[in-house]
Amino acid sequence: MVTVSALLSEHPPAESHHHAPEGWIRKYVFSLDHKVIGKQYLGLGLVAVLTGMVLSWIMRYHLAFPDKPVPLIGLIAPTFAAGGVITPEFYLQLMTMHGTIMVFFVLTTAPFAGFGNFVLPLQIGAEDMAFPRFNMMSFWVTFVAFVVLVAAFFVPDGPPLSGWTAYAPLSAVGKGAGPGEGLGQSLWVVSIGIFCIGQLLGSLNFIATTLDLRTKGMTLARLPYSTWAWFITAMIGLIAFSVLLPACVLLLLDRVAGTSFFIPAGLVVSDAMQPHSGGSPLLWQHLFWFFGHPEVYIAIVPGFGIVSTILPAVCRKPHLGPRVLIACLLAIAGLSYMVWGHHMFLSGMSPTSATLFSVPTLIITIPAAIITLLWLGTIYGSKLRLTTAALFCLGFVSVFVTGGLSGFFLSQPSIDTYLHGTYFVVGHFHFVMGVAAMFGIFAGTYFWFPKMFGRMMNETLGKWHFALTFLGVYATFMPMHWLGLEGNVRRYSSFPADYMHGSLALHRFITFAALFLGAAQLIFLVNLLWSRLRGPAAPENPWEATTLEWSTTSPPPFDNFGGVHPVVSHGPNEYGVASPHGDYIMQIDPPTAAPAAA
């Protein structure tokens, strides 16, 4: 095997652009090192996902037992839930914060900014990102956004109750619209605006790094699939967040400066005539969903890349149709901008537009279906090593199929007429966006943990974590489709005695499943902590993978390759071929190695 240490003995080290930082603050807090920043993003994502999960438990407990106080919550949040009683407004506030935290601070930060920051420069043979200071700034801006959002829990009336979509005019007219619609909603808007700035900085950085900092021989055709996915995600994010940012500015102006971008004339809220005229609530919906639907792909495309990088390594077989895979990812990215109106079929926009938005929404399933078949074709006839990372990749395929197929219903306006606003939608997006992306995060964690921390994770705990999570996910989110078919409406804090009470048993089952699913994550936390402190030392390339990050030490040195600029002679897909070190050829191997079989 060609390693950096071997190369160093043959070549004099190249001059590094960076010097290793000195001092704890520069090394671990305000670090310019992409690896530290990647870990910071993942740490933020971990804090956020635990927060969001606890919020969901409270909501689920209340839905299952609406008449019973929620244990402990009365002590933790006596202002909002005195005696543990969840009021309707507190339920909506929990729901708003759950959605916002999960979508923005987990599903956007971890798969893209977290893993992308750590792995992308390593995979292209770069010392760092193109703009390390922007990189540091993007994390700390995102951190500030999270703090501002969470601060909404500590202001009078608490966080907003208008949902993660913050539809105007509910989100625009101020505190008269309900508890949390005063300062809490303003903090929400400011937080998301700040978040957009962080993501724009990050997206620019990813694009510039991928285009400019590839090492010698790392042509676009040789880019690892995860790097392709982060590159494409950055292009999606650059456009999406540059629309959401001004939308947030306009919403904030409506709230504090008396403008009327999203508020029409003649509104009477809480018996008060609103001093606005000329705005359009639909304008907010268009701007939000122009961001919001590509956001689904910002969450899931990195997962595609992670799965497509790990699968060949665990299958010991080349990825089927890699060029088709990249073409499909690009097609999905392009189509993601033509489908936002499917969130608005019933919004009052022209019914003709609904058909126009429905067609590309259905067409986008074709590249998604092709990618799924490519994964199945890769698994077929392989020599599958069922590591925990492999299991989460296989689980990703399963839940993505499930969530993707339920999207067929919602992409048809005539069916959306019935299912819109029901639990069917909740089940759909949790499978396709939430769970699938989380499985990508778990797969990435089990795969790259050795490179990040120089220690292996415990595989036995990992397999138990996967098994319980996989079962818990289906038990929690599949029944939501059944609730939706019955017409059970989402965003209800409880179901009055004469409405949808028949669904209570199913809601209780979902709650128990959600608590079980959450408890299973304790295994992951224990594994993370134990492995970080006590895990066996990781070799350079524990998975016998081909890409460049496995050509350097675990963890890599500050400049990634110990002063060497790696030279790439192969693609990332050369598995199942005889070579001096086994059944694979690393990208860094010299061109004299055996040619690829596929």
């Binding site: 029409p264 009477v268 088709v324 019933l346 429905s358 199945l376 074709g377 599958l384 606003g421 098994a467």
Partner: protein, 278 residues
């Protein structure tokens, strides 16, 4: 060299079997529950419902088949590949047959769903309302629906938002002193309609976004402040069913409900007369 798994090929095979079994059981049980209709659409009482339900059913058959096929293929391939020691096998024919398969099967289904679905959608939202429709003006506000009928004169009074006074039951902001058309307007907290006659709803909101969802009529439409949105339907049977709000509108959202009562032609005429006399 470090082996990336703690498992022997035999145990690895066993893990593969467990995974395959779990995926297969989940797929078959889930599909079985859908097929059993244990939790399913409520009874349909509308002329629109049959087409929508058929569209749901066709989509269910298509996606259900793909769901079971894809999950079973995943299970079978994992079963075949886990713990395998013989040489790898490339997928027969490479990626292009799969590309063609996905494009043709999904593409044809997409075309068919678009073709049929567009027709259904057009019947709901693009077809002109019939001339004999009963016109009912609907206003949504935090957290109630109000339904207004034109009264004996057949004309609606003009609403004035600044005159809305819920304490005095002037929910629409009518001005009966100066507007003769408003004097006989009938305002109801329930939507009462005659059977087998088209109903035209003109929907508007007084404050924030709301939505009107009548599951038994397969009808759902948002209220958007600043817009008056027309929608029409025809009830085909006598029923009393719920109308719920499905657009997040504030703390009382969960309790924003009303009833739809479908009456016979005579009962509806009597109801209107009674309301006009109050």
């Amino acid at each position: 060299m470090f082996r990336p798994t703690i498992l022997t090929p035999g145990v690895e095979k066993a893990v593969g079997k467990l995974f395959a079994a779990a995926v297969a059981v989940i797929a078959l049980v889930s599909a079985g529950v859908f097929l059993s209709h244990t939790w399913w659409l409520p009874p349909d009482y509308s002329t629109l419902g049959l087409e929508i339900d058929n569209q749901v059913f066709e989509t269910m058959i298509f996606t259900g088949t793909l769901f079971v096929a894809a999950q079973l293929a995943l299970a079978a391939f994992v079963l075949q590949a886990s713990g395998r020691t013989s040489d790898i096998k490339l997928f027969p024919g490479g990626p292009m047959p799969l590309v063609a398969l996905a494009t043709v099967i999904v593409g044809l289904e997409v075309l068919s769903l678009v073709f049929v679905g567009t027709k259904v959608w057009a019947n709901i939202f693009l077809a002109p309302v019939e001339a004999n429709a009963v016109h009912i003006d609907v206003q949504a506000g935090q957290f109630a629906f109000y339904f207004r009928y034109a009264g004996p004169d057949g004309k609606f009074g003009v609403p004035h938002p600044e005159k809305i006074d819920e304490g005095n039951s002037n929910f629409f902001g009518l001005d009966p002193q100066n507007d003769t058309a408003a004097r006989d307007d009938i305002v109801s907290a329930s939507l009462v309609v005659p059977v087998d006659r088209p109903i035209l709803l003109t929907m508007h909101s007084k404050d924030v976004g709301h939505s009107l969802f009548i599951p038994q009529m397969r009808l759902q439409q948002d209220f958007v402040p600043g817009l008056i949105i027309p929608v029409h339907f025809t009830a085909t049977g006598l029923t009393k069913t719920e109308i719920v709000c499905t657009q997040l509108c504030g703390l009382g959202h969960y309790n924003m409900r009303a009833y739809l009562e479908v009456l016979s032609k005579d009962d509806f005429a009597k109801w209107l007369t009674d309301q006009a006399g109050q």
